[in-house]
Symmetry: C2
Subunit: 112 residues, 2 copies
DNA sequence: TGATTATGCCTAATTTTTTTAGGTATAAAA
DNA sequence: TTTTATACCTAAAAAAATTAGGCATAATCA
């Protein structure tokens, strides 16, 4: 498996938050951000990323603009207003989920 | 969606850790532990749990024993030696993934 | 009494999303 | 000249959850 399972489930939240942090990004840059941001511990494959980007665009959260740089095409993605709302929702949910997860992992039965 | 996406990806680690913490547990008890442990914020459905338990058993990490309590059957699951090893591996990986995730979410481009 | 809730196991079909395994192309570095 | 980095992407398969139930006992509530 390329990405850890926890990253798999957080794919869209990660994409949205990275776009929030950086204004606009292109796909390849996102894969590098995940790799570098985690000091190489975590990777997302392009085969997982691009469909995820397209789903977010399809859902109406992203806008795109293409540029040619050094003879190669780059497709930049950025959040629109709805995307910014969605980012806030997903990141809040994600943070709460992490807290819940940490509590669950410590859970012990009262009668145990 | 019943369980948050992050819980989805951590299903097996959660099950293993709960068994580690509590010696033995039965399915219904695990669903309650997740619900109560997260103060109701997170739930896993039985339709997700039971197949996950069966996969872990199939993989050789769990042993079972059935009992009848109050006229109803209970199937207890507990870790075997290999399951304890696997729990340590998965929990280490999970904790590292959470750290990576938190770093990724803060990531900003150098040239941004 | 009768209906609902809680307890307790489970599965089939569908859906979602990732992985596997590529394709296409330019440019730089070894 | 081959590999690495950059840059987009998809089709088919696999994995795993959700949806939508089934089956059953016991306790609680109206």
């Amino acid at each position: 498996m390329e990405a850890s399972k926890i990253i798999k489930g957080s794919m869209s939240a990660i994409i949205l938050q990275l776009l929030q942090n950086n204004g606009r990004m292109y796909g390849y840059e996102i894969t590098k951000a995940v790799r570098d941001g985690s000091r190489g511990k975590t990777k997302i494959t392009e085969a997982a990323l691009y469909p995820a980007l397209h789903r977010l665009e399809e859902a109406g959260f992203l806008e795109t603009e293409s540029e040619i740089v050094d003879g190669r095409i780059r497709k930049y993605y950025k959040l629109n207003r709805q995307g910014k709302k969605e980012t806030a929702l997903q990141i809040d949910a994600l943070k709460e989920s992490i807290l819940s997860l940490q509590k669950i992992l410590k859970y012990k039965l009262k009668n145990g």
